[in-house]
Protein backbone atom coordinates (compact mmCIF):
# COMPACT_ATOMS: atom_id res chain seq x y z
CA UNK A 1 0.00 0.00 0.00
CA UNK A 2 1.82 3.01 -1.21
CA UNK A 3 1.03 6.18 0.63
CA UNK A 4 -0.16 9.00 -1.61
CA UNK A 5 2.79 11.08 -2.74
CA UNK A 6 3.39 13.58 -0.02
CA UNK A 7 3.59 17.17 -1.07
CA UNK A 8 6.95 18.68 -0.26
CA UNK A 9 6.92 20.52 3.04
CA UNK A 10 8.10 23.67 1.35
CA UNK A 11 5.19 23.84 -1.08
CA UNK A 12 2.76 26.59 -0.19
CA UNK A 13 -0.61 27.06 -1.84
CA UNK A 14 -0.32 29.75 -4.47
CA UNK A 15 -2.60 32.73 -3.77
CA UNK A 16 -5.21 33.47 -6.37
CA UNK A 17 -3.69 36.78 -7.44
CA UNK A 18 -0.17 35.41 -7.88
CA UNK A 19 2.75 35.92 -5.59
CA UNK A 20 4.33 33.74 -2.98
CA UNK A 21 2.80 32.79 0.35
CA UNK A 22 5.13 33.63 3.21
CA UNK A 23 2.79 32.91 6.14
CA UNK A 24 -0.03 30.38 6.15
CA UNK A 25 -2.86 30.29 8.73
CA UNK A 26 -0.82 28.21 11.21
CA UNK A 27 2.20 30.49 10.85
CA UNK A 28 0.00 33.53 11.55
CA UNK A 29 -1.52 31.86 14.59
CA UNK A 30 1.92 30.91 15.96
CA UNK A 31 3.26 34.43 15.36
CA UNK A 32 0.32 35.97 17.21
CA UNK A 33 0.71 33.50 20.09
CA UNK A 34 4.34 34.50 20.42
CA UNK A 35 3.46 38.20 20.26
CA UNK A 36 0.86 37.69 23.01
CA UNK A 37 3.48 36.01 25.22
CA UNK A 38 6.04 38.72 24.49
CA UNK A 39 3.55 41.46 25.37
CA UNK A 40 2.81 39.74 28.70
CA UNK A 41 6.49 39.18 29.38
CA UNK A 42 7.51 42.74 28.60
CA UNK A 43 4.71 44.26 30.68
CA UNK A 44 4.88 41.67 33.48
CA UNK A 45 1.25 40.71 33.02
CA UNK A 46 -1.84 42.26 31.50
CA UNK A 47 -2.56 45.02 34.02
CA UNK A 48 -3.42 48.38 32.46
CA UNK A 49 -2.93 46.97 28.96
CA UNK A 50 -5.08 48.24 26.08
CA UNK A 51 -4.80 46.85 22.56
CA UNK A 52 -5.61 49.37 19.83
CA UNK A 53 -5.90 48.00 16.31
CA UNK A 54 -5.39 50.25 13.31
CA UNK A 55 -8.22 49.63 10.83
CA UNK A 56 -8.90 47.71 8.92
CA UNK A 57 -6.71 44.64 9.49
CA UNK A 58 -5.06 45.75 12.69
CA UNK A 59 -8.39 45.48 14.50
CA UNK A 60 -9.01 41.72 14.01
CA UNK A 61 -5.33 41.13 14.76
CA UNK A 62 -5.70 43.03 18.05
CA UNK A 63 -8.76 40.92 18.91
CA UNK A 64 -6.86 37.72 18.21
CA UNK A 65 -3.92 38.80 20.36
CA UNK A 66 -6.39 39.69 23.14
CA UNK A 67 -7.98 36.23 22.86
CA UNK A 68 -4.56 34.62 23.17
CA UNK A 69 -3.71 36.78 26.17
CA UNK A 70 -7.03 35.75 27.73
CA UNK A 71 -6.23 32.05 27.25
CA UNK A 72 -2.73 32.42 28.69
CA UNK A 73 -3.35 34.88 31.49
CA UNK A 74 -7.09 34.62 32.05
CA UNK A 75 -7.49 38.37 31.75
CA UNK A 76 -9.69 40.17 29.23
CA UNK A 77 -7.64 43.02 27.84
CA UNK A 78 -9.70 45.93 26.43
CA UNK A 79 -9.53 46.11 22.63
CA UNK A 80 -10.31 49.18 20.56
CA UNK A 81 -9.65 50.62 17.17
CA UNK A 82 -8.03 53.87 16.15
CA UNK A 83 -8.63 55.38 12.74
CA UNK A 84 -5.68 57.46 11.58
CA UNK A 85 -7.12 58.72 8.26
CA UNK A 86 -7.36 62.39 9.22
CA UNK A 87 -3.83 62.37 10.64
CA UNK A 88 -2.14 60.99 7.53
CA UNK A 89 0.54 63.18 5.99
CA UNK A 90 -0.73 62.32 2.50
CA UNK A 91 -4.37 63.23 3.23
CA UNK A 92 -4.27 66.05 0.69
CA UNK A 93 -2.65 63.96 -2.02
CA UNK A 94 -5.70 61.84 -2.80
CA UNK A 95 -9.46 62.31 -2.93
CA UNK A 96 -11.03 62.50 0.52
CA UNK A 97 -10.84 59.06 2.06
CA UNK A 98 -13.50 57.06 3.79
CA UNK A 99 -13.17 57.26 7.55
CA UNK A 100 -12.77 54.02 9.45
CA UNK A 101 -13.95 53.13 12.92
CA UNK A 102 -12.46 54.71 16.01
CA UNK A 103 -13.59 52.90 19.10
CA UNK A 104 -11.81 53.75 22.33
CA UNK A 105 -12.49 51.26 25.16
CA UNK A 106 -14.62 52.68 28.02
CA UNK A 107 -11.65 52.99 30.39
CA UNK A 108 -9.93 55.42 28.02
CA UNK A 109 -6.20 55.55 27.40
CA UNK A 110 -4.97 57.78 30.22
CA UNK A 111 -2.28 56.03 32.23
CA UNK A 112 -2.63 52.80 30.25
CA UNK A 113 0.00 50.84 28.36
CA UNK A 114 -1.30 50.98 24.81
CA UNK A 115 -0.17 48.37 22.33
CA UNK A 116 -0.85 49.54 18.78
CA UNK A 117 -1.51 46.62 16.45
CA UNK A 118 -1.19 46.77 12.67
CA UNK A 119 -0.74 44.26 9.88
CA UNK A 120 2.29 45.61 7.98
CA UNK A 121 4.99 48.01 9.14
CA UNK A 122 6.54 49.75 6.16
CA UNK A 123 7.36 53.46 5.93
CA UNK A 124 6.25 54.09 9.53
CA UNK A 125 3.98 56.93 8.43
CA UNK A 126 0.80 55.17 9.54
CA UNK A 127 2.26 54.70 13.00
CA UNK A 128 3.30 58.36 13.18
CA UNK A 129 -0.30 59.26 12.29
CA UNK A 130 -1.55 56.85 14.96
CA UNK A 131 0.65 58.49 17.60
CA UNK A 132 -0.75 61.88 16.63
CA UNK A 133 -4.32 60.56 16.67
CA UNK A 134 -3.78 59.06 20.12
CA UNK A 135 -2.51 62.40 21.37
CA UNK A 136 -6.02 63.82 20.87
CA UNK A 137 -7.67 60.93 22.73
CA UNK A 138 -5.62 60.53 25.86
CA UNK A 139 -2.21 60.26 27.46
CA UNK A 140 -1.06 56.65 27.78
CA UNK A 141 1.68 55.78 30.23
CA UNK A 142 3.53 54.02 27.39
CA UNK A 143 2.90 53.05 23.79
CA UNK A 144 4.22 49.88 22.20
CA UNK A 145 3.86 48.59 18.67
CA UNK A 146 2.99 45.08 17.49
CA UNK A 147 2.91 44.18 13.79
CA UNK A 148 2.34 40.94 11.96
CA UNK A 149 4.91 41.74 9.27
CA UNK A 150 7.81 44.17 9.26
CA UNK A 151 8.87 44.66 5.66
CA UNK A 152 11.52 47.29 6.28
CA UNK A 153 12.07 50.55 4.32
CA UNK A 154 11.34 52.87 7.22
CA UNK A 155 11.13 56.58 6.42
CA UNK A 156 10.69 57.72 10.01
CA UNK A 157 12.47 56.81 13.25
CA UNK A 158 9.90 54.20 14.28
CA UNK A 159 10.40 50.55 15.14
CA UNK A 160 8.14 47.74 16.30
CA UNK A 161 8.36 46.19 19.77
CA UNK A 162 6.72 42.95 18.72
CA UNK A 163 7.08 41.51 15.21
CA UNK A 164 5.37 38.44 13.79
CA UNK A 165 7.78 38.10 10.90
CA UNK A 166 10.60 40.21 9.57
CA UNK A 167 10.23 40.14 5.83
CA UNK A 168 13.06 41.65 3.81
CA UNK A 169 11.50 43.11 0.68
CA UNK A 170 12.41 45.32 -2.24
CA UNK A 171 10.40 48.46 -2.84
CA UNK A 172 8.72 47.05 -5.96
CA UNK A 173 7.35 44.09 -4.04
CA UNK A 174 3.87 44.13 -2.62
CA UNK A 175 2.98 42.48 0.67
CA UNK A 176 -0.64 41.43 1.15
CA UNK A 177 -2.07 40.39 4.48
CA UNK A 178 -5.39 38.62 4.24
CA UNK A 179 -7.40 37.75 7.34
CA UNK A 180 -10.36 35.49 7.89
CA UNK A 181 -12.46 38.27 9.46
CA UNK A 182 -11.99 40.66 6.53
CA UNK A 183 -11.00 38.57 3.51
CA UNK A 184 -12.33 35.11 4.35
CA UNK A 185 -8.89 33.50 4.64
CA UNK A 186 -5.62 33.87 6.52
CA UNK A 187 -2.45 34.43 4.50
CA UNK A 188 0.50 36.73 3.99
CA UNK A 189 1.74 36.83 0.42
CA UNK A 190 4.42 38.72 -1.41
CA UNK A 191 4.11 39.61 -5.08
CA UNK A 192 6.85 40.76 -7.39
CA UNK A 193 5.47 43.84 -9.02
CA UNK A 194 2.93 46.47 -8.15
CA UNK A 195 0.50 46.26 -11.03
CA UNK A 196 -1.21 49.63 -10.63
CA UNK A 197 0.33 53.02 -10.19
CA UNK A 198 3.97 53.87 -9.88
CA UNK A 199 6.11 52.93 -6.96
CA UNK A 200 7.86 55.87 -5.49
CA UNK A 201 10.44 56.22 -2.81
CA UNK A 202 8.05 58.15 -0.62
CA UNK A 203 6.28 54.85 -0.19
CA UNK A 204 2.82 56.34 -0.28
CA UNK A 205 1.75 54.58 -3.44
CA UNK A 206 3.07 51.25 -2.41
CA UNK A 207 1.69 51.63 1.05
CA UNK A 208 -1.64 52.69 -0.34
CA UNK A 209 -1.70 49.82 -2.78
CA UNK A 210 -1.29 47.52 0.16
CA UNK A 211 -3.97 49.17 2.17
CA UNK A 212 -6.51 49.67 -0.56
CA UNK A 213 -5.79 46.26 -2.09
Amino acid sequence: MAAPPATPATARPAPADGGRTVLDPRDISRALTRIAHEILERNKGADDLVLLGIPSRGVPLARRVAAKIASVEGVDVPVGSLDVTMYRDDLRMRPARTLLRTDIPPGGLDGKVVVLVDDVLFSGRTIRAALDAMNDVGRPQAVQLAVLVDRGHRELPIRADFVGKNLPTSLVEKVSVRLEEVDGEDSVTIAGMVSTGSTTRDGSTTRDAEEAR
Binding site: L91, M93, P95, A96, T98, R101, T102, D136, V137, A212
Partner: protein, 320 residues
Amino acid sequence: MKRHLLSAGDLTRADAELVLQTAEELRSLADRPIKKLPALRGRTVVNLFFEDSTRTRISFEAAAKRLSADVINFSAKGSSLSKGESLKDTSLTLEAMGADAVVVRHWASGAPHLLANAGWSRSSVVNAGDGTHEHPTQALLDAFTMWRHLGSLDGRRVAIVGDVLHSRVARSNALLLKTLGAEVTLVAPPTLLPVGVEGWDVETSYDIDAVLPKADVVMMLRVQRERMNAAYFPTVREYSRRYGLDGRRMDTLQDHTIVMHPGPMIRGMEITADVADSHRSVIVEQVTNGVAVRMAVLYLLLGGSEPALSLEASGEEEGR
Protein backbone atom coordinates in the same frame (compact mmCIF):
# COMPACT_ATOMS: atom_id res chain seq x y z
CA MET B 1 -19.40 63.25 -4.81
CA LYS B 2 -19.75 66.39 -6.81
CA ARG B 3 -17.60 69.37 -5.92
CA HIS B 4 -20.57 71.41 -4.70
CA LEU B 5 -23.53 70.44 -2.55
CA LEU B 6 -26.38 72.47 -4.01
CA SER B 7 -29.28 70.07 -3.95
CA ALA B 8 -30.13 66.88 -2.10
CA GLY B 9 -30.87 65.55 -5.58
CA ASP B 10 -27.17 65.80 -6.47
CA LEU B 11 -26.42 62.94 -4.10
CA THR B 12 -26.53 59.38 -5.33
CA ARG B 13 -27.51 56.73 -2.85
CA ALA B 14 -23.84 55.81 -2.46
CA ASP B 15 -22.93 59.48 -1.82
CA ALA B 16 -25.66 59.88 0.77
CA GLU B 17 -24.68 56.69 2.56
CA LEU B 18 -21.06 57.81 2.57
CA VAL B 19 -22.09 61.07 4.26
CA LEU B 20 -24.16 59.18 6.85
CA GLN B 21 -21.36 56.72 7.62
CA THR B 22 -18.80 59.49 7.86
CA ALA B 23 -21.13 61.43 10.17
CA GLU B 24 -21.49 58.34 12.35
CA GLU B 25 -17.71 58.18 12.79
CA LEU B 26 -17.50 61.91 13.46
CA ARG B 27 -20.36 61.94 15.94
CA SER B 28 -18.25 60.17 18.55
CA LEU B 29 -15.95 63.19 18.58
CA ALA B 30 -18.51 64.97 20.75
CA ASP B 31 -17.78 62.47 23.55
CA ARG B 32 -14.01 63.01 23.51
CA PRO B 33 -12.07 65.39 25.73
CA ILE B 34 -10.50 67.14 22.73
CA LYS B 35 -13.19 67.89 20.15
CA LYS B 36 -10.83 68.61 17.31
CA LEU B 37 -9.60 66.83 14.22
CA PRO B 38 -6.83 68.11 11.95
CA ALA B 39 -8.38 67.25 8.58
CA LEU B 40 -9.04 70.79 7.30
CA ARG B 41 -6.01 72.52 8.81
CA GLY B 42 -5.12 75.47 6.59
CA ARG B 43 -8.42 75.41 4.70
CA THR B 44 -10.71 78.42 4.80
CA VAL B 45 -14.47 78.08 5.04
CA VAL B 46 -16.59 81.20 4.54
CA ASN B 47 -20.10 81.32 5.96
CA LEU B 48 -21.91 83.69 3.63
CA PHE B 49 -25.33 84.41 5.09
CA PHE B 50 -27.74 86.73 3.31
CA GLU B 51 -30.59 85.66 5.53
CA ASP B 52 -30.96 85.40 9.30
CA SER B 53 -30.03 82.06 10.72
CA THR B 54 -28.82 80.98 14.10
CA ARG B 55 -28.63 77.25 14.21
CA THR B 56 -27.46 76.58 10.69
CA ARG B 57 -24.69 79.15 10.87
CA ILE B 58 -23.36 78.07 14.26
CA SER B 59 -23.71 74.45 13.24
CA PHE B 60 -21.54 75.02 10.15
CA GLU B 61 -19.17 77.13 12.21
CA ALA B 62 -18.77 74.45 14.87
CA ALA B 63 -18.34 71.77 12.20
CA ALA B 64 -15.61 73.68 10.36
CA LYS B 65 -13.80 74.61 13.57
CA ARG B 66 -13.83 71.04 14.88
CA LEU B 67 -12.10 70.04 11.65
CA SER B 68 -9.50 72.79 12.24
CA ALA B 69 -10.54 74.95 9.29
CA ASP B 70 -10.30 78.73 9.47
CA VAL B 71 -13.82 80.16 9.53
CA ILE B 72 -14.87 83.55 8.25
CA ASN B 73 -18.43 84.64 8.96
CA PHE B 74 -19.86 87.04 6.46
CA SER B 75 -23.43 88.14 7.04
CA ALA B 76 -25.43 90.56 4.99
CA LYS B 77 -26.24 92.89 7.84
CA GLY B 78 -23.54 95.43 8.51
CA SER B 79 -21.42 94.49 5.51
CA SER B 80 -20.96 95.76 1.98
CA LEU B 81 -23.80 93.45 0.99
CA SER B 82 -26.27 95.81 2.61
CA LYS B 83 -24.71 98.63 0.58
CA GLY B 84 -25.77 97.00 -2.68
CA GLU B 85 -22.79 94.91 -3.68
CA SER B 86 -23.66 92.24 -6.22
CA LEU B 87 -23.32 88.53 -5.59
CA LYS B 88 -20.64 88.44 -8.25
CA ASP B 89 -18.46 91.03 -6.56
CA THR B 90 -18.88 89.36 -3.19
CA SER B 91 -17.85 86.08 -4.75
CA LEU B 92 -14.78 87.63 -6.38
CA THR B 93 -13.80 89.11 -3.03
CA LEU B 94 -14.08 85.76 -1.29
CA GLU B 95 -12.07 84.13 -4.06
CA ALA B 96 -9.36 86.73 -3.63
CA MET B 97 -9.29 85.93 0.10
CA GLY B 98 -8.63 82.30 -0.70
CA ALA B 99 -11.86 80.64 0.41
CA ASP B 100 -11.79 76.88 -0.14
CA ALA B 101 -15.48 76.51 0.57
CA VAL B 102 -18.37 78.93 0.69
CA VAL B 103 -21.37 77.97 2.77
CA VAL B 104 -24.15 80.14 1.46
CA ARG B 105 -27.62 80.97 2.65
CA HIS B 106 -29.63 83.27 0.45
CA TRP B 107 -33.21 84.46 0.31
CA ALA B 108 -33.22 83.91 -3.46
CA SER B 109 -33.77 80.37 -4.71
CA GLY B 110 -30.88 79.44 -6.98
CA ALA B 111 -28.26 81.84 -5.58
CA PRO B 112 -25.91 78.99 -4.55
CA HIS B 113 -26.25 77.50 -8.02
CA LEU B 114 -25.21 80.80 -9.57
CA LEU B 115 -22.30 81.10 -7.16
CA ALA B 116 -21.12 77.61 -8.01
CA ASN B 117 -21.54 77.67 -11.76
CA ALA B 118 -20.92 81.23 -12.90
CA GLY B 119 -17.16 80.70 -12.96
CA TRP B 120 -16.47 83.46 -10.44
CA SER B 121 -14.54 81.31 -8.04
CA ARG B 122 -12.97 77.91 -7.60
CA SER B 123 -14.26 77.17 -4.13
CA SER B 124 -16.74 74.46 -3.27
CA VAL B 125 -20.21 75.81 -2.64
CA VAL B 126 -22.45 74.31 0.04
CA ASN B 127 -26.07 75.35 -0.03
CA ALA B 128 -27.21 76.23 3.49
CA GLY B 129 -30.72 77.10 2.34
CA ASP B 130 -31.81 79.11 -0.66
CA GLY B 131 -35.22 80.77 -0.65
CA THR B 132 -37.97 78.18 -0.86
CA HIS B 133 -35.77 75.84 -2.89
CA GLU B 134 -33.42 73.52 -0.96
CA HIS B 135 -31.53 72.92 2.25
CA PRO B 136 -29.57 69.73 1.58
CA THR B 137 -27.56 69.53 4.82
CA GLN B 138 -30.81 69.74 6.82
CA ALA B 139 -32.13 66.78 4.83
CA LEU B 140 -28.90 64.89 5.49
CA LEU B 141 -29.07 65.51 9.22
CA ASP B 142 -32.73 64.51 9.26
CA ALA B 143 -31.93 61.31 7.38
CA PHE B 144 -29.00 60.68 9.73
CA THR B 145 -31.25 61.09 12.76
CA MET B 146 -33.85 58.71 11.29
CA TRP B 147 -31.12 56.22 10.35
CA ARG B 148 -29.74 56.20 13.88
CA HIS B 149 -33.19 55.50 15.33
CA LEU B 150 -34.69 53.20 12.72
CA GLY B 151 -31.79 51.63 10.84
CA SER B 152 -32.22 51.35 7.08
CA LEU B 153 -34.76 53.78 5.64
CA ASP B 154 -35.89 51.38 2.93
CA GLY B 155 -39.68 51.22 3.00
CA ARG B 156 -39.97 53.53 6.03
CA ARG B 157 -42.88 55.97 5.95
CA VAL B 158 -42.11 59.59 6.62
CA ALA B 159 -44.88 62.14 7.07
CA ILE B 160 -43.86 65.75 6.51
CA VAL B 161 -46.56 68.00 7.89
CA GLY B 162 -47.14 71.72 7.55
CA ASP B 163 -46.02 74.56 5.34
CA VAL B 164 -44.58 72.51 2.50
CA LEU B 165 -45.04 75.37 0.05
CA HIS B 166 -42.39 77.57 1.63
CA SER B 167 -40.22 74.79 2.96
CA ARG B 168 -36.83 74.11 1.44
CA VAL B 169 -36.46 71.46 4.13
CA ALA B 170 -39.44 69.53 2.77
CA ARG B 171 -38.15 69.67 -0.78
CA SER B 172 -34.65 68.49 0.11
CA ASN B 173 -36.04 65.80 2.38
CA ALA B 174 -38.40 64.52 -0.29
CA LEU B 175 -35.48 64.15 -2.72
CA LEU B 176 -33.03 62.58 -0.29
CA LEU B 177 -35.48 60.25 1.45
CA LYS B 178 -36.59 58.90 -1.89
CA THR B 179 -32.94 58.27 -2.80
CA LEU B 180 -32.56 56.36 0.45
CA GLY B 181 -35.66 54.26 -0.19
CA ALA B 182 -38.20 55.83 2.17
CA GLU B 183 -41.79 56.67 1.29
CA VAL B 184 -42.69 60.30 1.88
CA THR B 185 -46.16 61.69 2.48
CA LEU B 186 -46.62 65.45 2.49
CA VAL B 187 -49.49 66.62 4.67
CA ALA B 188 -50.70 70.20 4.32
CA PRO B 189 -53.75 72.26 3.54
CA PRO B 190 -54.23 72.57 -0.24
CA THR B 191 -53.01 76.16 -0.15
CA LEU B 192 -49.67 75.15 1.35
CA LEU B 193 -48.77 72.44 -1.14
CA PRO B 194 -46.57 73.70 -3.98
CA VAL B 195 -47.69 73.74 -7.57
CA GLY B 196 -46.18 70.77 -9.39
CA VAL B 197 -45.97 68.58 -6.30
CA GLU B 198 -47.38 65.76 -8.47
CA GLY B 199 -43.94 65.53 -10.04
CA TRP B 200 -42.11 65.03 -6.72
CA ASP B 201 -42.82 61.32 -6.52
CA VAL B 202 -44.39 61.61 -3.08
CA GLU B 203 -47.84 61.00 -1.66
CA THR B 204 -49.89 63.98 -0.55
CA SER B 205 -52.70 64.21 1.93
CA TYR B 206 -54.89 66.90 3.50
CA ASP B 207 -55.77 64.68 6.46
CA ILE B 208 -53.13 64.36 9.16
CA ASP B 209 -55.18 61.92 11.24
CA ALA B 210 -55.25 59.39 8.40
CA VAL B 211 -51.47 59.54 7.91
CA LEU B 212 -50.11 59.52 11.46
CA PRO B 213 -50.93 55.90 12.48
CA LYS B 214 -48.88 54.50 9.57
CA ALA B 215 -45.87 56.81 9.86
CA ASP B 216 -42.45 55.78 11.18
CA VAL B 217 -41.32 59.40 11.28
CA VAL B 218 -43.38 62.58 11.68
CA MET B 219 -41.63 65.76 10.69
CA MET B 220 -43.42 68.96 11.63
CA LEU B 221 -42.67 72.14 9.68
CA ARG B 222 -42.91 75.70 10.87
CA VAL B 223 -45.43 77.94 9.16
CA GLN B 224 -43.19 80.51 7.51
CA ARG B 225 -45.29 83.60 7.96
CA GLU B 226 -42.39 85.84 6.98
CA ARG B 227 -42.59 84.43 3.47
CA MET B 228 -46.38 84.68 3.27
CA ASN B 229 -47.90 87.54 1.38
CA ALA B 230 -51.41 86.11 1.14
CA ALA B 231 -53.93 84.37 3.35
CA TYR B 232 -53.14 80.66 3.17
CA PHE B 233 -55.41 79.66 6.03
CA PRO B 234 -58.15 81.49 7.92
CA THR B 235 -56.69 81.62 11.43
CA VAL B 236 -53.73 80.32 13.38
CA ARG B 237 -56.15 78.55 15.67
CA GLU B 238 -57.80 76.71 12.82
CA TYR B 239 -54.45 75.71 11.33
CA SER B 240 -53.29 74.45 14.69
CA ARG B 241 -56.44 72.41 15.23
CA ARG B 242 -56.31 70.78 11.79
CA TYR B 243 -52.55 70.37 11.22
CA GLY B 244 -50.85 70.75 14.59
CA LEU B 245 -49.36 67.80 16.45
CA ASP B 246 -50.79 67.59 19.96
CA GLY B 247 -50.82 64.93 22.65
CA ARG B 248 -54.04 63.34 21.39
CA ARG B 249 -52.63 62.90 17.88
CA MET B 250 -49.29 61.69 19.28
CA ASP B 251 -51.14 58.86 21.00
CA THR B 252 -52.17 57.47 17.61
CA LEU B 253 -48.52 56.97 16.54
CA GLN B 254 -46.79 53.61 16.50
CA ASP B 255 -44.51 52.92 19.48
CA HIS B 256 -41.26 53.38 17.58
CA THR B 257 -42.31 56.50 15.68
CA ILE B 258 -40.13 59.57 16.22
CA VAL B 259 -41.16 63.22 16.01
CA MET B 260 -38.84 65.68 14.29
CA HIS B 261 -38.77 69.40 13.66
CA PRO B 262 -36.11 71.32 11.73
CA GLY B 263 -36.49 74.33 14.02
CA PRO B 264 -37.14 76.98 14.94
CA MET B 265 -40.44 75.63 16.24
CA ILE B 266 -43.42 77.63 17.38
CA ARG B 267 -44.86 75.82 20.39
CA GLY B 268 -48.62 75.94 20.33
CA MET B 269 -48.75 76.44 16.58
CA GLU B 270 -47.58 73.37 14.65
CA ILE B 271 -46.53 71.40 17.72
CA THR B 272 -47.63 71.50 21.35
CA ALA B 273 -45.14 71.73 24.19
CA ASP B 274 -45.95 68.28 25.58
CA VAL B 275 -45.13 66.71 22.19
CA ALA B 276 -41.96 68.75 21.72
CA ASP B 277 -40.72 67.65 25.15
CA SER B 278 -41.90 64.03 24.92
CA HIS B 279 -39.65 60.98 24.67
CA ARG B 280 -40.55 60.66 20.98
CA SER B 281 -39.12 64.04 20.18
CA VAL B 282 -35.60 63.97 18.68
CA ILE B 283 -35.54 67.70 18.04
CA VAL B 284 -32.54 68.42 20.28
CA GLU B 285 -30.67 65.42 18.90
CA GLN B 286 -31.19 66.82 15.40
CA VAL B 287 -29.06 69.79 16.40
CA THR B 288 -26.22 67.56 17.66
CA ASN B 289 -26.42 65.44 14.54
CA GLY B 290 -26.35 68.58 12.41
CA VAL B 291 -22.79 69.32 13.47
CA ALA B 292 -21.65 65.76 12.70
CA VAL B 293 -23.33 65.75 9.30
CA ARG B 294 -21.87 69.14 8.36
CA MET B 295 -18.45 67.96 9.45
CA ALA B 296 -18.91 64.95 7.21
CA VAL B 297 -19.91 67.11 4.24
CA LEU B 298 -17.01 69.53 4.71
CA TYR B 299 -14.53 66.70 5.19
CA LEU B 300 -15.72 64.78 2.13
CA LEU B 301 -15.63 67.92 -0.04
CA LEU B 302 -12.39 69.48 1.23
CA GLY B 303 -10.44 66.82 3.09
CA GLY B 304 -8.54 65.44 0.13
CA SER B 305 -7.14 66.63 -3.16
CA GLU B 306 -10.67 66.39 -4.52
CA PRO B 307 -14.08 65.36 -3.20
CA ALA B 308 -14.45 61.82 -1.95
CA LEU B 309 -15.24 59.12 -4.41
CA SER B 310 -18.42 57.34 -3.51
CA LEU B 311 -18.13 53.90 -1.96
CA GLU B 312 -18.58 51.70 -4.98
CA ALA B 313 -16.55 53.93 -7.28
CA SER B 314 -13.47 53.97 -5.06
CA GLY B 315 -13.10 50.20 -5.08
CA GLU B 316 -12.33 50.14 -1.39
CA GLU B 317 -13.52 47.31 0.77
CA GLU B 318 -13.88 49.54 3.77
CA GLY B 319 -17.57 50.29 3.25
CA ARG B 320 -19.45 48.87 6.19
